[in-house]
Structure formats: structure tokens, C-alpha cells
């Protein structure tokens, strides 16, 4: 049973426009959320995170929004650049203090930035 769901396997966006990647979760105990980016033949790279006490976190071109009541988060990339083409994973944890439960990942969304 998937606790973290990324329902769009792929997304194509024109260069310079906004990319919006979505993620839904079912476990209400999750209190920390992260986005990872993965290029082929490389391990995932941390992008941005958000704690459940916040509803928004920004880092340069990347912004993550959290809607706890809807159990939904989204990653916005503005403006989208060719180097953003990668697989993006949403991940969550219910143990931000101890880390013992590891991260629960979604299946990923393949973002393709069109020139």
C-alpha cells in the first residue's frame, strides 16, 4: 500500500515556464517531507524539504508547498531550465527526530524540459 503517491509518471514543460510536481500521502503521522532529484546512473540528490509546522519553503527557483489537511505537497520550479530534466522523488518521514524509520518514497515523476 503506497503511503506516498506521485500520480504523474511524467511531465513535459517548456523551458522558462513553471514546473509543478505533485505528491499525495496517506500517513497522517508523516511530519517531514523532502524532494529528491535523480539523474540516470546517479543516486538521488536532496533538493528541498519542509517540516509539517510550515506550509511553504523556498530555495532559489524551488518552492515546496504543504497542505496538511489535504495531505498534499507540491514542488514548484520557476523558471524551468534544461538541467532540471530528471526524475523527481517525493519522500516523507514520521520520525524527524530519530530517523530510525528511514524515508518513504513515491514512485517518482520524470520531468522533461522542452527547449
Amino acid at each position: 500500500d503506497q503511503q506516498v503517491k506521485q500520480n504523474s509518471p511524467s511531465l513535459s514543460v517548456q523551458e522558462g515556464r513553471i514546473s509543478i510536481l505533485n505528491c499525495d500521502y496517506t500517513n497522517s503521522m508523516f511530519d517531514y517531507f523532502l524532494w529528491y532529484k535523480k539523474y540516470p546512473a546517479e543516486g538521488p540528490t536532496f533538493l528541498i524539504s519542509i517540516s509539517s509546522i510550515k506550509d511553504k519553503n523556498e530555495d532559489g527557483r524551488f518552492t515546496v508547498f504543504l497542505n496538511k489537511s489535504a495531505k498534499h505537497l507540491s514542488l514548484h520550479i520557476v523558471p524551468s531550465q534544461p538541467g532540471d530534466s530528471a526524475v523527481y522523488f517525493c519522500a516523507a518521514s514520521e520520525d524527524s527526530g530519530g530517523g530510525a524509520d528511514g524515508l518513504t518514497f513515491g514512485k517518482g515523476t520524470h520531468l522533461i524540459i522542452q527547449p
Binding site: P44, T45, S96, G99, G102
Partner: protein, 114 residues
């Protein structure tokens, strides 16, 4: 600075065999986590080790075991391999135990079981 390194890069094994995968964390990192990524899925948590002790375990059978050495490197062992164990095995290191510490992933070991 060297990132997380994993060996071997690729591995082909036969059903029923045993395999050992190795991971060297970033210098100074004391926590190592292992994840399994089956094709088309996201990484799935297997183990976390911190200061040489197991601190977390995912929903994997006892055929999977791991350990962390005094230099903080780690090994993942899988016994009695099944076809379903074919996957990319990722190792991640972090400074501390809490998920608040950023995890740095290695490139993974691609295991194929025939």
C-alpha cells in the same frame, strides 16, 4: 571531497546465492542507510546504522542483514537470493541519525539475479 562510494557497480548472481554490497560514507558521516529501488518504483528503506548500531529496519525479510564498521563503512548482505531481489541498491550517508540531517546518496549497485 569524495562522495558516497559503493561497490561493485554491477553484479550478476544466481538464485540461491549470497551477495555482499559495500558502501563508504562521506568522511565525517556516522550514519549509513540502505535502500532498495526496484525498476519503476521509488527507493524502499531497508536499514539505518548509526555509530555501528542498527537504528532502524524496514519491512524486509531476515535474508537481508547489514553491519557498520568502526570506520563507518557498511556492508549489506543478502542470502538465498530470489529473482525479486534484482534491483538498484542505494546507500546514503548523513552526519547524524535524525532525518533532518541531509542524506547523501551513492550511485548504487545494480544487482541482477538470474
Amino acid at each position: 571531497d569524495a562522495g558516497v562510494t559503493q561497490s561493485p557497480t554491477h553484479l550478476i548472481k544466481t538464485r540461491g546465492q549470497h551477495v555482499t554490497l559495500r558502501c563508504s560514507p562521506i568522511s565525517g558521516h556516522k550514519s549509513v542507510s540502505w535502500y532498495q529501488q526496484v525498476l519503476g518504483q521509488g527507493p524502499q528503506f531497508i536499514f539505518q546504522y548509526y555509530e555501528k548500531e542498527e537504528r532502524g529496519r524496514g519491512n524486509f525479510p531476515d535474508r537481508f542483514s547489514a553491519r557498520q564498521f568502526p570506520n563507518y563503512s557498511s556492508e549489506l548482505n543478502v542470502n538465498a537470493l530470489l529473482l525479486g531481489d534484482s534491483a538498484l541498491y542505494l546507500c546514503a550517508s548523513s552526519l547524524g541519525l535524525a532525518v533532518l540531517w541531509e542524506q547523501y546518496f551513492g550511485p548504487g549497485t545494480r544487482l541482477t539475479v538470474t
